[in-house]
Symmetry: C4
Subunit: 256 residues, 4 copies
Amino acid sequence: MDWRKHVRTALDGRHPGLGHRVELGLHALILYSALEMGVETLPHLPGWAATALSVSEIVVVAVFTIEYVLRLATAPAPGAYARSFFGIVDLLAIAPFYLGLAFIGFGLDLRAVRALRLLRLVRLLKLARYTSAIDRLAAAWRVVKEEVIVFGVAALIVLYVCALVIFQFEHDAQPEAFASVLDAMWWAAVTLTTVGYGDIYPVTPVGRVFTVLMLFVALGIIAIPTGLVASALSAIRTREEAAAREPEPPPAEPPG
Amino acid sequence: MDWRKHVRTALDGRHPGLGHRVELGLHALILYSALEMGVETLPHLPGWAATALSVSEIVVVAVFTIEYVLRLATAPAPGAYARSFFGIVDLLAIAPFYLGLAFIGFGLDLRAVRALRLLRLVRLLKLARYTSAIDRLAAAWRVVKEEVIVFGVAALIVLYVCALVIFQFEHDAQPEAFASVLDAMWWAAVTLTTVGYGDIYPVTPVGRVFTVLMLFVALGIIAIPTGLVASALSAIRTREEAAAREPEPPPAEPPG
Amino acid sequence: MDWRKHVRTALDGRHPGLGHRVELGLHALILYSALEMGVETLPHLPGWAATALSVSEIVVVAVFTIEYVLRLATAPAPGAYARSFFGIVDLLAIAPFYLGLAFIGFGLDLRAVRALRLLRLVRLLKLARYTSAIDRLAAAWRVVKEEVIVFGVAALIVLYVCALVIFQFEHDAQPEAFASVLDAMWWAAVTLTTVGYGDIYPVTPVGRVFTVLMLFVALGIIAIPTGLVASALSAIRTREEAAAREPEPPPAEPPG
Amino acid sequence: MDWRKHVRTALDGRHPGLGHRVELGLHALILYSALEMGVETLPHLPGWAATALSVSEIVVVAVFTIEYVLRLATAPAPGAYARSFFGIVDLLAIAPFYLGLAFIGFGLDLRAVRALRLLRLVRLLKLARYTSAIDRLAAAWRVVKEEVIVFGVAALIVLYVCALVIFQFEHDAQPEAFASVLDAMWWAAVTLTTVGYGDIYPVTPVGRVFTVLMLFVALGIIAIPTGLVASALSAIRTREEAAAREPEPPPAEPPG
């Protein structure tokens, strides 16, 4: 086994000697990195803590950079890795830091962009291999995908149409709150998800009647996909249990 | 094939030569028309943009008018089309524009009525033929229709009765917020759908106790139809899969 | 057939000659009575309308009184009717009016009590015989009754305990909003049903952490009964359809 | 039967002579204790009532202390009881009272800690033996445990990431409301559970767009576990009914 294979299997947690150690260490670093971004926002941090966080951020980005370079160098096809989903995620996670260094004298605020590092959390999905629940969820998703997409598109259209209608009713009564259809869409989304902050709501009688009708009809459209996934999931579990209980089907009968 | 049939099949996307092109173009125009109504509401639009939107509105209405006239002229039974669901929708979508022109000197504000053009979005439902998810939804709806209607009527009665009761409890304490049973119905709808804007809520002890009881009992009544549709849907999918898997039933055994 | 049987069957909609006419008339009167209570609350009613509503209220109560007396007089066992569920409902619906007359000089406000007349709306449940959906709902309810009760009691205990805990955390920070455990229970109910008016919410860090934990755990406890009823309902429908499809089971095999 | 066995069986409701009396009495005392903690918080309590509540609290703690000592003295293995779940609960329920006495001169406020006595309410779970609904819930929980845990962890990660992202968008616009990621997490929890108090919400366009996307995606993640438990529960009920209906399976065919 050459060094490339050693490095590659170590990073992926399939190394015969190191096992999951390197992989789990990287996962821990991803979690630490996410945590560090949160702690950093706390007000009244003492100076030494802020310094420690900044230093640890540099260390984290350095490790992620080394990991990226190693993955690139040891991949059987480096170009394929660079263009793969995880390759792009790994690059986006470290790029903002170096862009920030490059533009340090130009007064650009790249803090918000740094949040791209959180994309790395999707790497934790690889832990999914330790549980069959994720497999079942994926199978359920394949079953209900079409319905969920139809519902999603319908929900978007409903949201936009509701916003246009309420805008006609409320704009004259509340020109500040319902300044444009964008405000109305914000209202529609907050209302249809039943969050209802109370920062914006209809006050005209016709606007209120429309809101009530909209809620009764549209709540169904938005809430059904959830039920779909759940019942598909339980159907898959039932089928798996049945398959585990009964003997192998005779090979003579082809399915379908 | 005479010109009538050419036009009719082109509009419906079944023309041998043009295929779906004309139909998809009309669908795109419907979407543009909806989008234009939203963009128009944005404040601080530059003058040229407002002009462009007004012109494009006229073009859209012109195309819809031509489409309506063509459909009327080429339908096998023009009267039947004019009285059909889509015929009425197509007319309602263009009528407000011409009414606005007719009454232009009378200071009538027909802007809100223009929203009727959004009715045309139901034409997009014809895209449903590209997915079997809609068929399954329709089948599920037929299965649960009766329960959903019973629940809907029950929900309306519960809403009205809750509004009457809370009005008795809260009117004296908050004569402004609970001015009549209409305000109380607005409160009941916003509360029972769990939106809870916070613009109106009970403050008396007895009103609060009633609200809590109402929520615990009535949430079930309103939330159940959603679950019904979802489980009917999954039952239909199971049945379809079973039908696809097993061979044709022997014709000798009549069902039922 | 003597006059008692004539009256009794007419009231119940089983009269050979009158059919459902009398029964439906009484149902219409119940609906009118509910509607009248709402219209009455509208502000700025002209004097003649207020008078008309008052008069119609007297007529409605008079008809309900005559109905009650007739039912009492024609029942095979008058005492049994008077003590039955519908007998008590019929009495409670008219009693407040006569009590109001009796105490008219004492300045008692019996307006709120008049809402008892709405109890009569349960008579509309008799319309349920026209739909099998109600039967299926009742069957589903019998299946899940035990779970729903267990969940209901658990929800009440959770609500009370959450209120006691949040009171300990928030009372000192907001002595006005969280004045006693009663306010905390109002908060807990409004939060756990996700209504969230925003009239009362935790502000201390520990109170907020507790709220988040509470929501994640307790939402399940409160939301599950709904799903239970829905899936029981669909199971019953499946069973009914299967029963309708297959032939009568051979009588030789006893169940269980 | 020696006195230890007499005491032990009496406390557990399995005494041949006393039956459930002692056990039910202790359960009643647990309920009273919880109720007393609530009543105590009511403002404007007359002096005698406050005194009565304080005295009754001492009595309750005394009885719980005697029960704890008796359970410890009569257990077959006292150490095992002391370290068991219910042993720890019983100790935590009485410890704060004695700690409060010990530190009475030090000005420590142990009122909040007294809420630990509510832990004793879990003893009421033993009433579960009177209903098979709890057994079915436990079985359903075992079936869906893995999915619910996966969803729970996913929900926590989603919550934290959403909080970090919204913090980047809203901190500059509302430095008071979104002071740190902790406030943002409070916002995310209140929004994702659709409570929506309205004490904190995004105002920037990009923050609002992110909120809408978050709601549509994340509501599914949080709401699905509920549906899972419900459908698992109904599957278990179906299986139980089938098992009750059909005869014992022949012993010759081993399962699996």
